[in-house]
């Protein structure tokens, strides 16, 4: 029966589509709830942050990567291990600043935007902004304060999607304060 063939590939495909479609439903809901794109972008970043601070534990457990010695190593781990693990893509790491504290992740394709087109009245929406929050939250949990933002976005007409990451400072390890 043709239905039986390629079931595992179909399952995998549907699984990643589940995330993509759910993300799309979230963005749609946020656009309904908030009047302007800036608010939606902020909310996406916040939600991403909440996910990131938890996701890092899952990542460390699954990947067993050790502590990164410098920002370059961090960049490689993010691109080659983390993105591959969770989104099935391997962005390239480029455009290092001379001081070595800033780099770009270039995504040839962005799985989040697979079925998405931005309508005209949402030209300032950073659709994938959740990713910035996730990266920021995850890195904060490993003592790195970073600034993450989209420099290019295929949804807004650019050829590629570019995420710019800048190292701000190392966070001194605090004793757990039990906050939540």
């Amino acid at each position: 029966m043709s239905r039986q063939s390629n079931r595992s590939t179909d399952s995998k495909k549907m699984n990643s589509e589940l995330f993509t479609l759910t993300y799309g439903a979230l963005v749609t809901q946020l656009c309904k709830d908030y009047e302007n794109d800036e608010e939606v972008n902020k909310q996406l970043d916040k939600m991403g942050y909440n996910i990131g601070v938890r996701l890092i534990e899952d990542f460390l457990a699954r990947s067993s990567v050790g502590r990164c010695h410098d920002f370059r190593e961090t960049a490689d781990v993010i691109a080659k291990v983390a993105f591959k693990m969770y989104l099935g893509i391997t962005p390239s790491v480029t455009n290092w600043s001379p001081a070595g504290d800033e780099f770009s992740l270039i995504l040839e394709s962005n799985p989040l935007v697979d079925f998405v087109e931005l309508p005209d009245n949402h030209s300032t929406l950073i659709y994938s902004n959740l990713l910035c929050g996730v990266l920021r939250g995850a890195l904060e949990m490993v003592q790195m304060a970073v600034d993450v933002r989209f420099a290019q976005d295929t949804l807004r007409g650019d050829n590629v999607t570019e995420i710019r990451m800048k190292f701000i400072k190392r966070i001194e390890e605090n004793l757990p304060a039990g906050d939540e």
Partner: protein
């Protein structure tokens, strides 16, 4: 690829968001129902979209039971990495799908007070099912309950009562009325 974990984290975050939306804070009951409808509605759209794409090249289903088998096996396992454990029907349009270790509930502890929260976790999956059925041409009402198996080692059980009714149903979104936890003797 660990994208199922991503989905679980996203789902939890969506749940927190939906329940702390300021506009619904006045009346706790309104908040709960509206939050559930939003979640269910999101699940519905996602379920429709997923099923549309998944079954694009499938041969047509023979009958209702064939559709239910698809949901229990292919659909459920591609989303929750396992098949439905048990399917029952009264052969009159009502189906009960049982999942004994429902993935989205494994995070919450088995204490009774947490069972109150469980319906919130079920709204999106109910929507997924209702959306999938809709994409396959069936209108339905999907509701779910969480039952704790009475034993020394409680297992999270979850039953979804799927009532498939091909007479026309009202077009407004289904409001899931969460049922309270079943009473168990300790």
């Amino acid at each position: 690829m660990a994208d199922d974990v991503l989905f679980e984290f996203l789902h939890m975050e969506i749940m927190s968001y939906v329940y702390k939306e300021p506009r619904m804070r006045d009346d706790p009951d309104t908040e709960r129902v509206t939050g559930l409808s939003i979640l269910e509605g999101m699940g519905f759209r996602v379920g429709q979209g997923l099923t549309d794409r998944f079954t694009k090249d499938y041969p047509t289903f023979k009958d209702e039971l064939d559709i239910m088998k698809f949901l229990c096996k292919d659909f459920w396992s591609s989303i929750f990495r396992k098949q439905i454990d048990n399917l029952r029907t009264n052969h009159q349009g009502t189906y009960v799908l049982q999942d004994n270790t429902f993935a989205l509930l494994t995070q919450i502890s088995s204490g009774k007070q947490h069972l109150e929260e469980a319906p919130k976790y079920l709204a999106f999956p109910c929507g997924l099912l209702r959306g999938a059925l809709s994409s396959l041409g069936l209108e339905s009402l999907v509701s779910a309950e969480v039952a704790l198996m009475p034993s020394t080692d409680p297992v999270h059980g979850r039953e979804a009562l799927v009532n498939v009714d091909q007479r026309s149903l009202p077009a407004e979104p289904v409001h899931i009325i969460p049922r309270g936890p079943k009473n168990f003797r300790n």
